[in-house]
């Protein structure tokens, strides 16, 4: 369907309707999922079957009108099956692939969204996830917007292009996860005279992070962006991989888990006061009023910080801190004392036995929250730095091997498939030689960003070495993994990097193996197999994904004992 040559107000209203409909789709797909779940438990439930039929019928009739043609066609296909089942008055136990229906609908939706780029980004053969992050791109230049949109989509974001502030205003009934704003994107005269006030006013209803873009460089351009309500400023021409990494980092930090705080305090009023204050700030809080239960509670709750009363009947706060510092697991746990004590000597003693800071009673709620949050934030950063690779944010070599070993041991007790993937950037050395190491690092970082966007939270994603990556995918057979990695491969090849004023693209090769094809292999041997498959991919021309097969490996025969 073409929406070319329309008056611009109709065009933007159409866009707004499409946005609203897109949000409704999320709810409708969830609802269909609910009906299917109900039917799985009770296949003969005709009420659920009729509800499912109605929902699919609605979808079949409306999705195409709003530009989601493939979703509509898929819904129509499924509707037909339900309609036949209804006519024959039989349950849905007979319907093929019922469990995959929602996944199929979501994949169609994703296909519709990818296709809309019109720039030949291949559809990912991947289970579409609802939590795909949406970016609204406010950009005057349509061609530039198409380009940026396509690039960001290949990083796994959904992107909606709006041409100016007016379109944004009409669309503001719903909200994206991030706004990317060209700071000249309005014809309004107010933008010329008071640009900062203009944007603050236009953007005030958005709670999401806002990043400005513009051709200007330097301190004042950035200051303008900050004063206009922006979280960041990127100069044009935009370096999209860098932008994507930045965006992923901003959005990730927003979704971090709540801080866990243990309050050790015998005065229950005081303890509850602190609990309420911290809980209101979104933290998880437990109160310990029996000091003797400290170790049990700590290992059950796994706190990231302890608020400790100094004077308690059974043991003093300083004594409790001293106990904790003796136990390796808790030795680095931040401890903040709550105390009305002002004697410097007393305080010095308490700190030397293991505490980190004092907070005076009566406790100031704001100070309490910010102290807890900043301590835990820094603790988390430190842990991140210890286990994660700085450039990509992926797990480091040793930790990914450990993750593989853990998974391997887990499936020995609870059999299930898992896949191991080795992945390598093609001709990476020539990227470094031609464009320099800084650009090479950017390419590596882009793979990191892409991996985190494409895979589940439960997947273990590691940087194995220079330009080599290792993935451990639980609950995933090699054939599914191959599809996922191939989607990643296609997305990666669509990304354009900038180096020395020219743009270029890269490809990657991968080898995939799963535990079921090599049931007698150790974790280590599975990596070797994935590596062999990777070499097969390299030798058969690169830019491809190869599957390890047992026939390639004489050791894989059933007569062989565990291969090393």
């Amino acid at each position: 369907m073409s929406d070319k040559s329309l008056p611009s107000d109709v065009d933007s209203r159409l866009k707004v309707l499409k946005i609203a409909y897109r949000q409704r789709l999320v709810r409708e797909l969830d609802q269909i999922d609910d009906f299917l779940q109900a039917l799985r438990q009770d296949p003969a439930n005709s009420q659920s079957l009729r509800a499912l039929h109605e929902a699919l019928h609605k979808l079949a009739g409306s999705a195409g009108t709003f530009g989601f043609e493939q979703l509509g066609r898929q819904a129509s296909l499924l509707e037909e099956q339900v309609s036949n089942a209804l006519a024959k008055a039989e349950g849905v136990a007979e319907l093929p692939g019922l469990t995959d229906w929602v996944a199929q609908l979501r994949a169609s939706l994703q296909a519709d969204e990818s296709r809309k780029t019109g720039l030949g980004v291949e559809v990912l053969e991947q289970e579409a996830n609802d939590d795909q992050l949406s970016i609204w791109l406010l950009e005057r230049d349509t061609m530039l917007a198409d380009y940026i949109g396509q690039q960001l989509r290949s990083f796994g974001f959904t992107v909606l292009h709006l041409r100016d502030a007016q379109e944004l205003e009409q669309a503001s009934s719903c909200s994206p996860d991030l706004l990317l704003v060209d700071h000249h994107a309005s014809e309004s005269p107010e933008l010329k005279t008071q640009p900062e006030a203009f944007w603050r006013d236009r953007l005030k209803s958005f709670n999401c992070p806002i990043i400005f873009t513009g051709a200007e460089e330097g301190f004042f351009a950035r200051l303008h962006a900050v004063r206009s309500g922006g979280r960041g400023y990127f100069t044009k021409p935009l370096d999209v991989p860098q932008l994507a990494a930045h965006v992923a980092r901003i959005l990730k930090s927003g979704e971090s888990a709540p801080e866990r705080i243990l309050i050790v305090e015998d005065d229950s009023d005081m303890a509850q006061f602190c609990q309420v204050v911290l809980q209101q700030a979104g933290m998880q809080v437990e109160i310990l009023d029996q000091p003797q239960n400290l170790l049990q509670t700590a290992s059950d709750f796994d706190p990231e910080l302890i608020l400790m009363d100094l004077r308690m009947p059974v043991a003093t706060g300083a004594e409790m801190a001293a106990i904790l510092t003796q136990i390796e697991r808790w030795a680095h746990l931040p401890i903040i004392y709550l105390s009305a004590e002002t004697s410097a000597e007393f305080r010095g003693h308490a700190l030397s036995s293991g505490g980190d800071a004092f907070l005076e009673k009566p406790v100031d709620p704001k100070l309490l929250v910010s102290l807890c949050r900043s301590r835990i934030g820094r603790l988390r950063e430190l842990e991140q730095a210890m286990t994660r690779d700085g450039l990509t944010g992926l797990i480091k070599h040793a930790s990914i091997k450990e993750a593989l070993q853990t998974e391997w041991e887990y499936v020995r007790r609870h059999p299930r498939p898992f896949s191991v993937v080795m992945l390598d950037i093609d001709h990476f050395k020539s990227v470094n030689d031609t464009h320099g190491h800084a650009v090479g690092d950017l390419v590596i970082a882009a793979v990191g960003t892409l991996l985190r966007q494409h895979f589940r939270n439960t997947d273990k994603l590691g940087r194995y070495g220079g330009e080599e990556f290792a993935l451990v995918l639980p609950d995933c057979t090699a054939s599914i993994a191959t599809g996922l990695v191939d989607g990643l491969r296609q997305s990666f090849s669509a990304i354009r990097f900038m180096g020395g004023g020219e743009s270029f693209s890269c490809t990657l090769s991968a080898g995939v193996v799963d535990n079921q094809s090599f049931p007698r292999h150790s974790a280590e041997a599975l990596i070797e197999q994935a590596d062999k498959a990777l070499y097969k991919a390299k030798h058969s021309g690169r830019n491809r994904v190869c599957l390890a097969s047992a026939s390639d490996d004489p050791k894989a025969g059933p007569t062989n004992k565990e291969a090393r």
Binding site: S2, D3, L6, P7, R13, G61, G64, T65, S76, E80
Partner: protein, 128 residues
């Protein structure tokens, strides 16, 4: 006589909205959109449509039932064109709809850019 006034009965609010865009802004027609057969029965006579467009599958009163009720109260005459709009159409149903005096059936999903043209074509055929 050119087509001007269209009554559209459709239970899905998003579809009513995009249809308004398609028929009024793109197609320059005059539209009255009703969310149910019941509402249509009350408001049809004040509006006096030349063409009535009905969604087939609706809760409470479906399209065919609404059409019959509209005829019964005399709101649809020999001068009024009638069209159905639906996602699923089986050959047998089409014949049944024709017996109800329906000029044509429009397939859902419709293209908002051409919906008005489709209605104008139906209007021409009806007046042939």
């Amino acid at each position: 006589m050119t087509l001007q006034k269209v009554l559209y009965i459709e239970d899905d609010p998003d579809i009513r909205e995009i249809a308004a865009l398609a028929l009024v802004d793109v197609g320059h027609l005059t539209l009255k959109a009703c969310e149910s057969g019941k509402q249509a029965l009350q408001e049809v006579d004040d509006f006096g449509p030349e063409l009535v467009l009905l969604d087939v599958m609706m809760p409470d009163m479906d399209g065919p039932e609404t059409l019959m009720a509209l005829r019964e109260q005399g709101s649809i005459t020999s001068k009024t064109a009638v069209a159905f709009i639906t996602a699923k159409i089986h050959p047998g149903e089409l014949a049944r709809y024709r017996e109800l005096g329906v000029t044509d059936v429009i397939a859902k999903p419709f293209d908002p850019m051409t919906l008005a043209d489709d209605l104008r074509r139906i209007w021409l055929r009806f007046n042939e």
